[in-house]
């Protein structure tokens, strides 16, 4: 049992440790919050991309659904997270199922699927930017309320950090539970060879929709937490293509084949970006140039990501097994 959830347990422990550090240093807490939030969303995204081979470039759609449901739920109806979070997750699941049905029914895969998801999120971005009661491009602020606890309004940052630790743990353990059971095997088989998988009894449509819905729900939860944490949502930060690309970047750098790979990517890149911004100022674009050049090189030369390199060291050595097999007779009598 422990071994099965080790890949979820270790990052969670590290996150708790990080939270501890953040309690002492508020600036660290801010970075911790960003890493924990976006990194966890990236983990959810990777269930589809890395494990099932469905690369969504429009995941910000679900993040935005989460964020805006919370924002408008509060502003328009006075609803608190207790109501808006579940609603957001339901809406995300419904959207994922609709989009998924559309895409998979017509066999969209690879680049076609990715571009289609991008199109959906762009439509959402543009429509929200044009909608008055959602704040258009200026966005919406979540107003302070005397009933602070109900609306998750805190004076300090650390309660949000705590919520994010819970979010991280939930996502990691839930994902690992799925990955080590039948869904995980089915997803990996579908990623690799859908025809062979189907011939072995894997219901492709059902499991693709499952991973899409699961990923969307977790992403929307992330968006919801974002709204409550920062008390402000706008199209650019929640529905923009930049967020979707961030998820891809974290995944590639951290390693797509691992549960915690994207989290590693986030943990490396977000603080690095912050540091450089502090020391070099936000007007210095040279940093971005270097960063993306590095990303490209890494994507080409190290397809398994930095986490993959790490993971290879920890994986079981199959070299010895090969040596044993070489000596086994060509025909072995079965039982």
């Amino acid at each position: 049992m422990l071994r099965r959830f080790l890949p979820a347990l270790v990052p969670t422990m590290l996150a708790i440790a990080g939270f501890g550090v953040g309690l002492a240093d508020p600036y660290f807490m801010e970075i911790f919050i960003m890493v924990g939030l976006i990194g966890t969303v990236a983990v959810a995204w990777n269930l589809m991309a890395g494990f099932t081979g469905l690369v969504s470039l429009g995941h910000s759609l679900f993040f935005g659904i989460g964020a805006y449901t919370v924002a408008y739920g509060q502003v328009g109806f006075g609803l608190g997270p207790l109501a808006t979070w579940p609603i957001a997750m339901l809406m995300a699941a419904a959207s994922a199922l609709c989009i998924g049905l559309l895409c998979f029914r017509y066999g969209l895969r690879g680049y076609f699927f990715s571009i289609a998801t991008l199109a959906f999120s762009e439509v959402a971005f543009l429509l929200v930017s044009a909608t008055l009661w959602l704040g258009r491009s200026d966005g919406m602020m979540l107003p302070s309320s005397p009933d602070a606890l109900r609306y998750l309004q805190f004076d300090h940052k650390w309660p949000y950090g705590l919520i994010i630790v819970a979010f991280l743990a939930l996502t990691l353990f839930l994902s690992q539970a799925f990955l080590t059971a039948r869904p995980g095997y089915y997803w990996r088989a579908l990623r690799d060879n859908e025809g062979a998988a189907e011939a072995l009894g894997v219901p492709a449509m059902r499991y693709k929709l499952l991973v899409f819905a699961l990923s969307a729900v977790l992403t929307a939860l992330g968006g919801a937490i974002f709204a409550n944490t920062f008390a402000f949502v706008d199209p650019r930060s929640t529905l923009g293509v930049e967020l979707s690309i961030q998820l891809l970047v974290f995944g590639i750098i951290g390693g797509l084949g691992l549960l915690w790979g994207p989290l590693l990517g986030a943990a490396l890149l977000i603080p690095a970006g912050e540091l450089l911004r502090t020391y070099l100022g936000s007007g210095f674009h040279g940093i971005n140039i270097v960063a993306y050049a590095l990303l490209m090189m890494l994507a080409l030369l190290l397809p398994q990501g930095l986490g993959g390199v790490l993971g290879a060291r920890l994986a079981r050595p199959s070299a010895e097994k090969r040596a044993t097999a070489d000596q086994a007779p060509a025909v072995e009598a079965a039982s």
């Binding site: 080590t180 039948r182 089915y186 025809g195 011939a199 072995l200 060509a330 079965a334």
Partner: protein, 243 residues
């Protein structure tokens, strides 16, 4: 007592790609427990036939009944669940998984729980004599071993009918003999088998009944010996008697 029901009944099966008739008007039955052969030169439509039976391709004409139940038009995974499994000519194991994990994917079809699936996956590997290779990275297998993995995967879905698509091609005499032995063993355990093979000696040895396809059409069907002695078949195979 009524006559035994065929396990597989194919009637008037046809498959066209645009104007090209890959398979036309093929009809035959396979009885439970037998090993049935499908012979024909390259391009005769044998793999297309398998693709139609397993649901990968929709039929252009005809019907397919598995144990009395119509299966043409169903999705491949539904057909698998109903008891028809197949192997692919070009064997590619699932990437990044061990031999055992590859078979486990298939075992999940009958055993949703991870532990049970793993147990049955090991059993399936044992039946093809590969239990000792369970933890090996599947992509490091030899060709013969990959063929056996392919069969293990298929039998892990606990089929009643197993379609083998040229599993013996390119193997050495020893490897082929071993594989034939394994196939016989699986058949003895209760799995009906249909095999596509080029090698006439192997078909004669293993298969009780067979059909011959040429240019998508069925030249002959019936007892293997009779089929092989058929004049039309001899003519089609002139100069390529044994491969």
């Amino acid at each position: 007592m009524s006559a035994p029901q065929p396990l597989l009944a194919v009637a008037g099966l046809g498959k066209s790609f645009g104007g090209l008739k890959a398979v036309s008007d093929v009809s035959f039955t396979v009885m439970p427990g037998e090993i049935f052969g499908i012979i024909g030169p390259n391009g005769a439509g044998k793999t297309t036939l398998f693709n139609c039976l397993s649901g990968l391709l929709p039929l252009s004409a005809g019907t397919v009944h598995l144990d009395g139940r119509r299966i043409d038009g169903l999705r491949p995974h539904e057909i698998c669940r109903l008891g028809l499994a197949r192997t692919f000519q070009i064997v590619r194991p699932f990437h990044g998984m061990s031999v055992l994990e590859n078979v486990k994917v298939a075992a999940f079809a009958r055993h949703p729980a991870s532990a049970a699936a793993e147990q049955h996956a090991r059993l399936a590997l044992g039946r093809v004599g590969m239990a000792h290779l369970a933890d090996l990275d599947a992509e490091r297998l030899s060709v013969a071993e990959m063929r056996r993995l392919e069969i293990a995967r298929a039998i892990a879905t606990e089929p009643r009918l197993l379609l083998l698509d040229e599993m013996l091609a390119g193997l050495t005499a020893t490897e082929a003999a071993a594989l034939c032995e394994q196939i016989r063993r699986i058949n003895a355990e209760g799995v009906t088998i249909m095999m596509v093979e080029h090698s006439v000696p192997i078909i004669s040895e293993l298969c009780g009944n067979a059909i011959v396809l040429n240019f998508g059409e069925m030249l002959a069907s019936g007892a293997t010996r009779a089929v092989l002695d058929d004049a039309q078949v001899q003519e089609a195979y002139l100069g390529s008697a044994a491969s």
